[in-house]
């Protein structure tokens, strides 16, 4: 298995990416007069906690050249890991990259610092659709970095037509033993509800039970609950239809033209990864400068070129080649997106309800 690129949520996660700190550049480069981006006499350093393969190739070096601030980047693999790490107090991170529902959760737990919009003028580059968000009204705590849509990745030569319904994953033996679902309990249960014609938000215990019954019936047909490595399973021929994020499938499609991605006609779940400053960040001035820099058009384009995830940055997208801008997997058509919703964190009780339903499904 030779792959040019690993998904942000794939192999390194398992390898304990969190333990790896990547430091770019030494401290020698910051002579006098390079402190443009600094604020409040902060030391020219910044600790960023990010997903793996989720930054531009030259972004950190470019930022240092522009501001003299040295970025030390540590990696996490799941939102849960990020949350668990900050749960007992901020160990020194200035900028973190939580997904939408975790932004909401961390706001609720008073773990995020409000952003000073005056220090983030590049916010104007963000596409209007992302300038406000249900999980963070007025973008008081978070800036959009990328977004993702959950859908079905599939092997064209092994399916009939386009498997454009959740039915093929949740409620059919057509692809018996060739199906992989993501092991994120909230996503599976809520998309099950979506398939049954209900909105993603406000799943009741009765509906949850109904989805659980459906998935227990479907279980003999499912090969595996994957841990965000669905794109690898698809690429290796282990399964033919898989529940995955569009960015992950877009990455493997470059090495195997027999793969494709579709957002089911019932609609799906959107995610958005955001930039935020955790409470207790030692260098909030540098953190604001860094967030502002990532929202710059050229810097944003450099990031998109490397990671191939959809960008919410309109100015950056305009600088990208058509092969990225018009890729229907990276940027699904508006009609498809209109059927999708963002998830909402509905409290610990709901989360535990989803979790226990999944435990029962797996134990059945």
């Amino acid at each position: 298995m030779v792959r040019g690129r690993l998904g942000r949520r794939s192999l390194l996660k398992a390898l304990g990416a969190a333990a790896v700190g990547i430091s770019v550049g030494g401290l020698d480069g910051c002579g006098p007069g390079t402190g443009r981006g600094r604020a409040g006499g902060e030391a020219p350093r910044l600790n960023v906690y990010n997903w793996d393969t989720y930054i531009g190739r030259t972004t950190l070096a470019d930022f240092r050249a522009a501001t003299g601030v040295d970025v030390n980047m540590s990696l996490f693999a799941t939102n849960d890991e990020l949350f668990a790490k900050l749960r007992a107090g901020n160990p020194g991170f200035d900028v973190i990259v939580p997904s939408d529902e975790f932004v909401q959760r961390m706001i609720a737990a008073d773990m995020l610092e409000p952003l000073d919009h005056a220090r983030i003028p590049n916010f104007r580059n963000v596409a209007p659709g992302f300038q406000d968000a249900g999980f963070d009204p007025g973008r008081r705590y978070s800036m959009p970095y990328t977004w993702l849509a959950t859908g079905i990745g599939y092997r064209k030569s092994r399916v009939d037509g386009v498997p454009d319904s959740w039915k093929w994953l949740f409620d059919s033996d057509r692809y018996k033993d060739r199906i992989a679902l993501i092991s994120e309990s909230a996503d599976v249960i809520r998309l099950g509800a979506k398939y049954l014609g209900h909105p993603i938000r406000g799943v009741t215990p009765e509906l949850c039970r109904q989805v659980e019954q459906m998935l227990i019936r479907q279980k003999p047909n499912i090969r595996v609950f994957h841990d965000d490595n669905g794109q690898d399973l698809l690429l290796q021929g282990e399964v033919d239809v898989v529940m995955e994020y569009n960015g992950d499938i877009a990455q493997v499609m470059r090495s195997d033209p027999d793969l494709d991605f579709v957002i089911p006609r019932e609609g799906s779940l959107l995610n958005s990864d955001c930039l935020a400053i955790p409470k207790g960040a030692p260098r909030p001035g540098n953190a604001h400068a860094f967030i502002n820099y990532l929202l710059d058009a050229r810097a944003g384009a450099e990031i998109s070129r490397t990671i191939l995830y959809p960008t919410p940055n309109a100015a950056a997208r305009a600088l990208m080649p058509a092969s990225y801008r018009d890729d229907p997997v990276i940027f699904p058509p508006q009609a498809e997106l209109a059927r999708c919703e963002y998830g909402v964190y509905e409290g610990a009780r709901t989360q535990q309800m989803f979790e226990e339903a999944m435990t029962r499904i797996r134990a059945a």
Partner: protein
């Protein structure tokens, strides 16, 4: 006059204090905190209130979780059996090998430890997966056979890949692979300590080599076998990485559930209760074994 070194108080304390402090600070205190959590409730997203509630244990003792625990015990038992079947002959072979060969064989047993567990598990995935090494080899053999049979006018059906990965068999294979050294080494150690003259005596008195092994060496190796069984079974029952990576939809073990409580479910009190339930059962098993060993010793 014989004097016990352990009686030299100053020296004993100097040697004993650092590990004792280490045990206290990095094992007993953290475990105590988690134990306290198991009697707590979630008081918000990040706070836990230790209220002395038994709700977590009540939930952990519900049929759902007991069933998962039972399944984990089964998988661990199969793993232990597999390790014993493979490990016992290996230990015997190493114990009776000569000089350099013995050293090399021991190195071979230890060799897997030089590689990270995760890398080894991924290697196993590469072997077992549908287009992996095992299936490719079988496919090659099959086509060779088909070619030979075609000469005789027979046409066997085309090769169908075996599903070796993502099922409980794969989990047991993976667990046996990981835990085998823990079975081989204690058995080897007990065979190594055995008084060889006993074997020679049994041979002199007319026992065949198999009989000598079965009736003399094996009973003497029993303590090693027992500790091998214990240190294979306990970690296998609590493994979560192997079922996660090699298992399918039916391979959920108790440690997978515990891991999810601490991460996805963000329900530390319940996760703590499940962990300690596993721990209480382990303690019970170890205590039971010690009791049995004690009785046996008393009877002699």
């Amino acid at each position: 006059m014989e004097r016990s070194w352990g009686r030299a108080k100053g020296a004993f304390a100097a040697v004993f204090a650092p590990p004792a402090l280490f045990l206290l600070a990095f094992f007993l205190v953290p475990m105590g905190i988690v134990w306290a959590f198991s009697f707590g409730e979630n008081a918000g997203l990040t706070a836990i209130a230790v209220t002395g509630t038994l709700d977590n244990y009540a939930r952990a003792l519900s049929p759902l979780y007991l069933g998962i625990l039972w399944k984990s015990a089964w998988i661990a038992a199969l793993t232990t059996l597999g390790c014993l079947v493979l490990g016992l002959p290996a230990a015997v072979a190493i114990a009776f090998a000569r000089g350099r060969a013995k050293a090399w064989l021991l190195v071979l047993v230890m060799l897997p430890f030089w590689t990270n567990l995760l890398i080894r598990t991924y290697a196993l995935i590469a072997v077992l997966r549908e287009e992996g090494l095992a299936n490719q080899t079988l496919k090659g053999l099959w086509s060779l056979l088909a070619w030979a049979l075609a000469g005789a006018g027979l046409h066997p059906p085309p090769f169908r890949a075996l599903e070796l990965l993502h099922n409980n068999t794969a989990v047991v294979i993976g667990l046996v692979y990981v835990h085998l050294p823990f079975m081989v080494l204690p058995i080897y150690a007990s065979l190594e300590r055995m008084d060889r003259s006993l074997l020679e005596a049994s041979l002199d008195l007319g026992a065949g080599p198999w009989r000598a092994l079965w009736d003399v060496a094996l009973p003497l190796a029993m303590p090693g076998i027992a500790s091998g069984v214990l240190i294979t079974f306990v970690p296998a029952a609590g493994d979560f990485l192997t079922p996660d990576l090699l298992g399918g939809t039916r391979s959920q073990m108790i440690a997978n559930v515990i891991e999810r409580q601490f991460k996805r479910a963000n329900d530390w009190p319940f996760g703590a209760a499940l962990s300690f339930l596993l721990m209480y059962l382990t303690f019970a098993a170890v205590a039971g074994r010690a009791l049995m060993a004690g009785r046996k010793a008393a009877r002699r």
